[in-house]
Symmetry: none
Subunit: 135 residues, 4 copies
DNA sequence: GTGGTCTAGACCACT
DNA sequence: GTGGTCTAGACCACT
């Protein structure tokens, strides 16, 4: 499970991690029954405090996306994907914000499309590579 | 000057306004010497507290983008645009984040491109309409 | 860390506290890595509002003199002393203003020197006593 | 009447001007009956708004140091000097603050005395030169 | 009217 | 507990 924290984003860490785990579930990178890293592990991996991750897991559990089994670990809940919005809906506002910003900045549509195309390809490669390492 | 605050974005209000004013300057909607709405005006317009806007102007002044003249008003500083990153650079991380998320969610490139194209067109229309009203 | 707010000085509280913390850093009473009192602590100690101290720490952080670590505290930044003007330079304008005023008021040089000598001795004593209490 | 505004001082303009006019009166550079520059003149000379100077004259009039004669001008009031604190008292706090700062900064007494001596001499020269020009 | 400081107090994020 | 955002509102300084 690849999660990246970007300090420059302005978003609270918890929010960033919650969004990314949600994306993993909606995109089926994480499937029901999959075990998540322990609080301790993920905290170490992201170099944040354990309480921060604890809070992330708590909130996702409240939303019915995760299930915490005492003494055993944290797992993706049955039917979790159905509880997230659809992939496209999860991106809707990001897309709108990006388009607004592009227009504001006077970036032309073709340029924007190009940049996104390239970024998509790079992201795809990273994703594939990560999967391989994980497998 | 059109600024929109989105509560769901997760970003603090100050950050949202700072980013949007920065975009206006980088995109030359706001040019050196232009007068910004007064602290009170903008606060009223966005329905936020005066102190919030005051902090926005304060930070943008520190960055050299604005100039505050006591008793007179707040203006875009000379050479402000040079102090912002280029339009494309200002979008770089947003684009990357969006692409990562799309891949994560299993949204196909063509779908993503379509959505963005539509959003861009809508944004452009809003922008043009807003300009007209302003003129 | 001894800081005193003088209401009669005409200077805003934030400015007074900023100047004094700067002096502590330039004079090496505060050294890199030293932890400052928490926002709440210092606010209580000086009987001012927390936001006032928060703003002080914020500005000193921008100047590179302090470092704020979320959830952990506020510390003197590495190389902070190098970022302040030298002790003598920090006093230059005060000295000039004082001398101008003395001449303006017709106070003779010897009188001025005497008064300063006495004040210096008193300040030194307070300083030493304060240090002892601190230790 | 020589008045200097220092933006870096942190003191409000009104305060700076009030203090300096008070010093002139306490030091007898300005004597009862002397006419002050008109609001307009002084405002132009100091490059500030007329209202700022107006407020200065108002406050000094309230304190009994000035007298405004409609259609004729603003004058030093009879017995004005008696209404100010004594020269030494007017400097007391400045001296104390300076000494505190010097100790804080680790500046030695001899150094401080030297600097003040030099500044005093320079101030005296300026003062004498100014008087000559005025006469 | 325009910017600026300060308080009191609520609520959030990170350790 | 530590820093951080935001609101509401008083009062000040400069044009």
């Amino acid at each position: 499970m690849f999660i990246r924290i970007e300090n420059a984003s302005g978003l609270p860490i918890t929010r960033q991690v919650i969004d990314q785990i949600t994306s993993h579930i909606a995109g089926a990178t994480l499937r029901p029954g999959d075990r998540l890293p322990s609080v301790r592990q993920l905290a170490r991996q992201l170099a944040v405090n354990q309480n921060t991750i604890l809070r992330v897991y708590e909130r996702l559990t409240e939303q019915g996306l995760l299930e915490r089994i005492h003494g055993s670990g944290t797992f993706v809940a049955t039917g979790a994907a159905r509880k997230t919005r659809s992939p496209v809906n999860l991106m809707k506002q990001d897309i709108e914000r990006l388009a607004d910003k592009a227009v504001q900045l006077g970036v032309r549509k073709a340029d924007l499309q190009n940049r996104i195309s390239q970024a998509y390809t790079r992201a795809k490669q990273k994703h594939t590579a990560a999967k391989k390492r994980g497998a």
